[in-house]
């Protein structure tokens, strides 16, 4: 990726570039390899940009990886963990997949919706919390019902435990 390093990328900070470069080392040095790096690169950029991916960030990733922007948009819109619209300061993902559902995830969702006054897929008016629509299992079935808040997992949820966790969010 020496040719890419020489260029100035307005959209990406030095830190972001360095982190993406570390991922690129793990993939073959060709177009398919760079395509493989889209997911980690988007994670890096989303982490540095308030939890979501403005168009210029996706474009910057595309330019850095020498790919068409549409290839990056496809990935960013495909996966639930990427957001292409602004989100709150915290992202709350309550798993509703089968194990969690059997252990009462639907009641948990109802409780949180009522508590925050928003539905799944919405953000609180103060911009504090986005309640994400989580479509897939987060692979923590042993602790069902569970949720992911930003980059942390919380398991064996009860309404009381959730209240405590949510109230602590700034």
């Amino acid at each position: 990726m020496s040719s890419a390093e020489d260029q100035v990328h307005d959209g990406l900070s030095q830190a972001e570039q360095a982190e993406i470069d570390r991922w690129l080392e793990r993939f073959p040095d060709d177009a398919m390899g760079r395509r493989s790096a889209i997911i980690p690169a988007l994670h890096v950029v989303q982490h540095h940009h308030g939890g979501w991916l403005p168009q210029q960030c996706m474009d910057a990733v595309a330019e850095y990886l020498e790919l068409a922007p549409a290839r990056v948009y496809e990935v960013a819109t495909f996966y639930g963990m990427f957001d292409v619209k602004p989100v709150g300061r915290h992202k709350v993902n309550i798993c509703t997949n089968i194990s969690c559902m059997l252990r009462g995830a639907e009641d948990i969702v109802e409780h949180v919706e009522k508590k925050l006054g928003i539905s799944l897929g919405e953000t609180t008016a103060d911009g504090r919390i986005t309640l994400k629509r989580e479509e897939e299992c987060l692979a923590a079935c042993t602790g069902a019902p569970m949720m992911q808040v930003d980059e942390e997992y919380y398991t064996d949820l009860t309404p009381e435990k959730i209240d405590r966790i949510l109230d602590e969010l700034e």
Partner: protein, 803 residues
Amino acid sequence: MSAEVKTQAPEMVSIEIDGQSIEAPKGASIIAVADEHGIDIPRFCYHSKLSAPANCRMCLVDVEMGGRPAPKPLPACITTVVDGMVVRTTSERALKAQRGVMEFLLINHPLDCPICDQGGECELQDLALGYGRSVSRFVERKRVVKDENLGPLIATEMTRCIHCTRCVRFLDEIAGTSELGAMFRGEHTEISTLVGNGVHSELSGNIIDLCPVGALTSRPYRFRARSWEMLSHPSIAPHDCLGSNIDLHQVRGHIKRVVPRDNEAVNECWISDRDRFSYEGVYSAERLLSPQIRENGEWHSVDWQTAIEAAANALKETVEKHGPGALGGLISPSATLEEMYLAARILRALGSDHIDTRLRRGDFRDGVNASGFPGLPVAVSALESLDAALIIGGYPRHEQPLINHRLRKAAFRGGQVMALNPRGFDWNIPLSDELVVNAAAMPAALARIAEAVAARKGVTLPADTSSWQAESVSAAEAEAVAERLLAADQGVILLGGLADAHPAGAELRYLAGVISSMLDLPCGELTNGSNAAGGWLAGAVPGRCADGAEVAGLDASAMLSEPRRGYLLLGIEPEHDLFDSAAAAKAFEQADQVIAIATHDSPMLREQADILLPMAALGETAGTFVNAEGLWQTFAGVAQPQGEARPAWRLLRVLANVLELDGFEYNAPDEIHHEIKAISHEATVANLAATQAVAPARIEGMLRVSYPAMFNVDPLSRHAASLQESEHAAPAVVVLNSSDAGELGVSDGDQVEITQAGVQRKRPVAIDDAVPAGSFWMDAGVSGSEALGALMGPASLAAAEVD
């Protein structure tokens, strides 16, 4: 990238499809082999020119290997044939799988074919008839997808989309613009740009043909006709020297749309947007509908008899008063072979040898190359297997979009495509070398390449190149190009439109010829218009009659700088279609008679012509175009000419009859065609190594560098409404290097005043360092660029006062 079956020396395997024993190349997909043997497997996402992603699953077939059936049906588009394979495309299991896929596709697809523009020619509709259930088992609501505005050419109805992704793959693999993608997931999947940028590829219209449903349709054609009421006629696209094969679809003499006709040797299965949508120009409100004569400054519509007699008298009078040399003919390079031939014969019969079709040429010092017609020295289809191509002064992506596609394929196969241009362009070909120099330094750059070739090859230069001294490319750049050309088994040197319009174009042709002769590489031209080769063959160039006789005549430039008293113009709008419109305006002003045979009305014709004769346009006339490769392609007149317009060959014949000239008793254009063919002596493409030697010309000061925008190359395309709505046809902007802009004290969006050949014009500025300092770029053929001086030549710029 491509799923084509043919390889160089394919190893053959024996397979059986539906009981038929077949020898097939190893590694080919089942569906490709089945297609070749006329066995129909249903499909939506598969297309022989695109990669196969196997995402529609419609082509599931039963496969058996060594007596063991595969555990489940396999997609025929990505399953490759191996020896002993037995395929059943219509077994119970295959049919059940195909019907299942169809049922899933119809869950969300609307069932309102009667109100869909694709109805009657829809692949989904056709296959649903064979594989669909007559009653749906689904009662759930169907999904609805918001439509996206993809621009003036393509209409969307994305609710109908079945996510075959042919459009996505076409833009990615063929057009190289990657503008569309499959956004979101599962049931929420949408084919979209996501960000609303639209689709701008020069080949974008092909996604309309590729779309198997009514999701992407032609915006200009939408709801204008039904596929079953139209008649289809083969024709030839009239805008570039490729001569794409097209079908005209008409209802009661009215062309409703243009679609590609497969011809692997010419346009494969594609056409450019210019060729697809220009038919709208036939029905433009600016069509010239009746013969008109100017009397005492007033225009009058007259009947044909009066008009032709007036034209004949005008020609005769001019000859009687001022001698036969007082006549000059400027004939569109996109006129038919027959029209060119008749126009040339009439002028020559009246005693004038001043006729030219090279209307955008900037330098005539090398005269007419007698060795052959200007064109491609290799077959169009061979371009894709070149291992080196040097393009001099050309941007085929806009000039000849499908020749560009062939070169792009060559580059993706490992070929080295190189370009030397007076500005950087937005190539979709990965160029190995892009040399951008000030237009004035282009000959010097070629001289350096010639020297590098001679040095590397250890031969003496067959020419003295030391007199080209302008600062151009570095020694390393010249050597890199020389090395690639030297290493090429199959190489070619091509001069494009910007070399044609170059004020030192003769030097470029000469030096390109010098390089090609040292390397023994073919060298040719990608010519302006659809029939530049025809101009040479028809004898519609000064210095050459159709039978090869050499005569002396004035070229397009000399006819204007040494004004004639009478002009015959055919198929042009002089404010856009000439190298130097300002010079033309002056010359026409001094002329007694300007007779214009034209498809469209234009302000400059109105102002300066004396007689206007309306001629038939695309589809309304029969004729022949000779493409760059030398292919004579004839087409018939199938549409009713608008108003009183008549095929130009016919009105030229009548004009000759009224003038009482001998040998004009033609009843049909094919008689003219055969006459030209008989005297053309199997002429072939010119050898540029035979170009006459020329010395460097002095080109100084700020240079205007222009070439017609992609959709503004001729009257027809300029009057096609939808093409003109595209951003490619935007009004002229002065594109300037940041250093020049700094010196003038202007920034993006400011106005500058251009002064060229006494014409002044204010235009907005765009700053772009793709244009070298000392020159500015401006699209020609667009609003704001008309009636200026030389396409490429000196012009001064000054910051304009804000009004």
